[in-house]
């Protein structure tokens, strides 16, 4: 009888029941999650009102005002890895026309810039462009303007969406092409 009692006391002091072990584990998991959450939350006071945009953060912006012709303002965003994004600056004369830009055509010069494909790590089939090579033509109700490359390099990609949605240029002045220099 005494033996039986001793056995029970030992059990509750040194060993856990399965339920207790399970509870312990759950509590541990909860603690871990709370700790994780604390790490994730930022200190609100440190947050800037307006953070730098991805473009400001990752690129160096260059402007080419009046490139080869008055009013043809373009920008070049250069990434640290050497890639450049060419586009129309908001002050470009095309935006001044009523209705803004109505069409974008990549079929200029000798070939359709939107046609060819660049493949592989070595960027095969990339066309070499000089700074005055024509990239595309933007049309408005009144006129059409040639957009030139501005930098010397190989063309990697054009913004095909502009073909179907030229209006994008009006709203957020998006890229027209990507270049590797």
């Amino acid at each position: 009888m005494n033996d039986h009692n001793v056995y029970q006391t030992n059990n509750s002091e040194t060993e856990e029941t399965p339920e207790q072990a399970q509870q312990e584990r759950e509590k541990e998991m909860q603690d871990d999650e709370e700790e994780l959450h604390k790490l994730l939350l930022p200190n609100v006071h440190d947050l800037p009102l307006t953070p730098p945009s991805a473009i400001d953060f990752n690129f160096v912006a260059y402007f080419a005002p009046d490139f080869l012709k008055p009013g043809h303002d373009q920008y070049v965003y250069r990434h640290a890895n050497g890639l450049c994004v060419i586009g129309l600056a908001p002050t470009h004369v095309a935006f001044k026309d009523e209705g803004g830009i109505t069409a974008v055509d990549f079929n200029v010069g000798k070939s359709d810039r939107s046609g060819f494909k660049v493949t592989g790590k070595r960027k095969k089939n990339a066309q070499h462009f000089e700074s005055n090579t024509a990239v595309c033509k933007v049309c408005t109700n009144n006129d059409s303007y040639i957009v030139r490359c501005c930098v010397k390099g190989s063309l990697l990609e054009v913004n095909n969406r502009l073909i179907k949605q030229p209006g994008l240029l009006n709203s957020s002045v998006r890229i027209t092409e990507l270049l590797m220099s």
Binding site: L47, N58, N81, V118, T119, L168, I175
Partner: protein, 557 residues
Amino acid sequence: MANETEDAPTNSASESHATSADVERNPTDEDKNEKLLNDAVQFLPTDAVKDLLSKEVCLRCIFRLFGMQVPICSSLSVKSLLCHVLGEQADLHQNISSVEPNICRSCLGILQFTYCGDKERVVENESACDFAVAIAELVKKEGHQIDSFSLEVSMPPTILENENKLSLYVKRKYRSEAWFKDRSISECSSTKDALKFALTNPLETLLDVKCGISTFHIRLTYSRVEASIRIQNFVEKIEGCKRRKVDAKNCLDTVKDKSAITGVENSVVSTTEVIPVDEKSSNGLQDNEPSETHEFPLKKVNEPCRLECLCFRTPIYFGGRYLKYSRNVSQTRWIIDEERMGEASIEEIIGGNILPMCRGDSYKFHAAGREDIDVRMLGSGRPFLFEIQNAREVPSELLVKEIESKINSLENKLVRVKNLKIVGSQGWTLMREGEAEKQKQYAALVWISRPLQDEDFQTISSLKETQILQKTPIRVLHRRSPLEREKIINWMKIEKIAGSSQYFLLHMCTQAGTYIKEFVHGDLGRTNPSIGSILGCRAEILQLDVTDVKMNCFLTE
């Protein structure tokens, strides 16, 4: 040609040094072996033995040819072996050195335990035990802690050809003899097996561990040390010009020009293509049909083989999960133009603590995916594998736990390790298994260009298993192929941040390989849809944390 092993005992008096005397069995074993030897020797045909000895075939080759197990005489020198075989004959005693060939024409000295070692010095060992002592010395010098070893032997192809020729010769000459019919000559063991057999027991005794399948390898590589006449054949073979008569000197000059043959200056050539030429008919042989396989006697050998003895352990693997608390620590060592990027690297922090405990040569770090330097790895951690080359010691479980604690208690608390332990080769497959399908969970600090609205929570939460199309992000486009990748966003959830209307925490779970930063800010429209396009405004990401890598390996048991 000094006998190297005799000098050995005096050199390292500080260490306890094993000699062949330690290896010999106790008296009763020795008596037993003597009896076994005597019994076996009875069956040896004396005239055949004498004939082969005269053809410069060594005694142990003769033994293996007649199917006698060589380990019985591991500790015995050739002299005592000869006495057993040929009986106590006074005249032979005096001429023993002339009876046993200097270098056996069949095994090229390998079974005579003679070889060309470091610095071109020829080493001769009296018995297998002496040879084993030299090998064991090398193991101890490297400081290896082992619990078993595997013995590997590599020999030049000439040996096999010699074995065949010898076999054929004996078959032809003695096929009519009675003793030949009684015992099949196919009982003979190969030179390689005979050597391994001779060395296994002494090595087991010296190293105090068993031989078998093991991670610790003792590799003996024998190669030919060639004279210039062989180079002539070699060069002619690779030039495909059999008629050219070049003398040895011109040949060497030609060889110097050929960068394909390296190390020929020292006239060591690994003979994968040279067919042995019988010296007696060397001049006319180029024109003959090669029938050397049946030619006997074998060519005289002037120099023993060169031996390279390597002992090493196959790589051992440490698996576990790591957490990264810093936004300035890269995963692997990252150096551009001699300048280090980031404060430290996970690979160096963890590897730098594991490698010295194993006393290994080097490490290789593998992880199940990676994160940018400015992204923290939290939660359950990311599985990783460390491959340690040639560890001198395999740490115990306790020691491994100590290593883990040490890393976790480093002052700067940049990295944490969980569940570190030694894993077998299955750790590798576990990690690579389904790497592309695994999901990862993230928490991003996002800013949008307008205040958060109530509908936004619902808009985001309702999107399940959304497919997005990502063009290769501009920031990696310089080193990766321009592709369009389809990825799945499994679920998303917005968590409001008290005190801010335009900042929030975005929790999400995505398919492995998704570029999260680009999914938030849209990468100039090249990722569709993006958070910006879903919420109809501009979105920027300030911070990113990985909160879970959903993989089933290296988890807490």
